[in-house]
């Protein structure tokens, strides 16, 4: 079952189209990474999912319902855009407000979420005095307090230190394993690829591509890079041995033949046995960010 489903979602502001004919499907219990550059339309889409802004056309369905009633919002937790909280209230008081908003009955949930998000040392600290990272944790705590079945998180690791990013990543993975569906946006493919099951890339309001995270690795460009001398002789030898897709770029031999990508040690042995001076041999794997930018630029 798809927990989130949009059909031909469009949002225009005058002549500017923020979201253009977006079809999005997020399966139950999955983590969907929503990726795009700043201004790509991620936040606008999330706001439409949450009924904060109305689409010009298209529809949004949450939990199979196109008209979201109060029962649907009980199952949804969200943190949209930057970290936010009531600055004059403490961490505990901010969570108390979320507790009341969700008409919860179990007060121990506040202490539990404080513990889970490592906010114990700041329970009585005013939110206005928190660091950006801790404010971000508080925003997440508010979103997760009522243990929603669907979490919509807009760039949730912004401002967190590396340890905090790992904590949140592990926490989200744990939630997903327990059945929570998560839609998480980011402009960092490297980060998203570590947790998402599916990645959707949006650019200029359009879905550029949707990838299965497990297949992402196959989509990345890979080749062998060889530095040896004499260069032309080595290339001739490799081609004579039947190796395909060999070229010289910037005084390096680039080999894209997939068969040989799996056995670089045989390549090294071949060159050394034929008296070539091999100074470097490595496998280049395209950087995730580079791949993302390439996709975006192609669109």
């Amino acid at each position: 079952m798809n927990i989130i489903e949009t059909n031909g979602l469009c949002k225009r502001y005058g002549s500017f189209t923020a979201v253009n004919n977006l079809h999005l499907q997020v399966a139950e219990g999955s983590i969907y990474g929503f990726l795009g550059l700043n201004g790509a339309g991620k936040t606008t889409t999330m706001r439409m999912l949450l009924n904060m802004i109305k689409p010009n056309s298209g529809s949004v369905s949450l939990f199979g319902q196109t008209k979201q009633d109060h029962a649907v919002w009980k199952k949804v937790g969200y943190a949209i855009e930057s970290a936010y909280a009531y600055p004059n209230l403490s961490v505990h008081e901010n969570l108390e407000i979320s507790y009341q908003y969700h008409q919860m009955k179990n007060r121990s949930a506040i202490d539990e979420i404080i513990g889970e998000l490592d906010l114990g040392a700041y329970v009585n600290t005013r939110a206005g005095a928190l660091s950006l990272g801790n404010k971000q944790r508080l925003s997440l705590a508010k979103a997760m307090l009522h243990k929603p079945a669907l979490l919509i998180l807009d760039e949730p690791v912004n401002g967190l230190d590396p340890a905090g990013i790992v904590d949140i990543r592990n926490y989200l993975k744990k939630l997903s394993q327990n059945g929570t569906t998560i839609l998480i946006s980011s402009h960092l493919l490297g980060e998203i690829s570590k947790i998402a099951d599916t990645i959707g890339i949006i650019h200029h309001g359009k879905m550029v591509c949707e990838l299965d995270a497990q297949k992402l690795d196959d989509s990345l460009e890979k080749h062998l890079v060889l530095c040896c001398s004499p260069l032309d002789g080595a290339r001739q030898l490799l081609e004579n041995k039947g190796i395909r897709e060999v070229e010289i770029i910037d005084k390096q031999i680039i080999i894209r033949d997939k068969l040989w990508l799996q056995q670089p040690e045989k390549l090294a042995k071949l060159l050394v046995e034929n008296s070539f001076e091999l100074s470097q041999l490595y496998t280049y794997v395209q950087d995730l960010e580079h791949y993302f930018l390439q996709l975006v630029n192609n669109n």
Partner: protein
């Protein structure tokens, strides 16, 4: 449901400096009234102050003191209550917390209703605090002519003035949400006060909502005094503000 949302709204007032500031600002009315009563009580026969007080039908007694705080409510209340409404509805945008309650089980209207209730309670507490202060000052000054009938009439006058001013805060709430912050509603309040002065000066104040509480609180039986239409206009103004706030929060894009 509303109980939960009200609890959340009350909690938002906690540790806020605005609450004591509004009480201090509103308390200036009875303080000034007490000073006026003291000076009137000790004025010599030919003093300019006594002459002016007589022209205003004022004397150092309970009735005058209570009428004075009604005038403070009618005129100062428009400013202070406008500030209260601006803060309750506008601070959420300033703190970027509005989105916290846009997709919650209770619904947005419940939050808006809770905000109006908090606004009304806050104003009522301000009004009550002025009565308490006026009573304390009156007792300390030993004001004369304490009569249950006169006090009853003054309290009725004060209560009607209070209701009129509280109603005028509802459109301010709408301005704060639609204008996304404090500036629009505060600008709106100032504009309305200035306009009320101009319209009042040309003799049509009784038909302009923001002039009506001030005219009523002065209670002069002149052609300027408000009539039934005046009260209806203020009531409509409050209802339109209330409805517009709900329509805006439920229908307009909250970006």
């Amino acid at each position: 449901m509303l109980k939960n949302i009200l609890s959340a709204e009350w909690l938002k007032l906690k540790h806020s400096k605005i609450v004591p500031i509004t009480f201090a600002a509103f308390a200036l009315g009875p303080v000034m009234g007490a000073i006026a009563m003291y000076l009137l009580g000790h004025a010599t026969n030919n003093s300019p102050m006594l002459q002016k007080a007589q022209a205003m039908n004022m004397s150092a007694d309970w009735s005058s003191m209570l009428n004075l705080i009604a005038q403070v409510a009618g005129i100062g209340g428009v400013i202070v209550f406008g500030f209260v409404a601006s803060w309750i509805f506008g601070r959420e945008h300033a703190d970027n917390t509005t989105k916290d309650w846009l997709a919650i089980p209770a619904g947005r209207s419940a939050v808006v209703n809770a905000k109006f209730i908090v606004y009304a309670c806050w104003c009522i507490l301000l009004l009550l605090s002025n009565i308490v202060l006026a009573t304390v000052f009156g007792l300390l000054l030993g004001l004369e002519h304490f009569s249950a009938q006169a006090i009853g009439q003054s309290m009725l006058h004060y209560s009607v003035t209070s209701v009129l001013v509280i109603l005028l805060g509802f459109p301010v709430g709408f301005m704060a949400l639609a204008g996304k912050g404090y500036l629009s509603p505060l600008g709106f309040v100032i504009l309305m006060i200035v306009t009320a002065q101009i319209i009042g000066a040309i003799g049509y104040g009784k038909y302009f909502p923001w002039a009506v509480p001030g005219l009523y609180s002065q209670a002069a039986n002149s052609p300027m005094s408000p009539n039934a239409w005046s009260y209806l206009i203020v009531l409509c103004c409050g209802l339109v503000g209330f409805a517009a706030t709900h329509l805006h929060i439920n229908r307009a894009d909250q970006s």
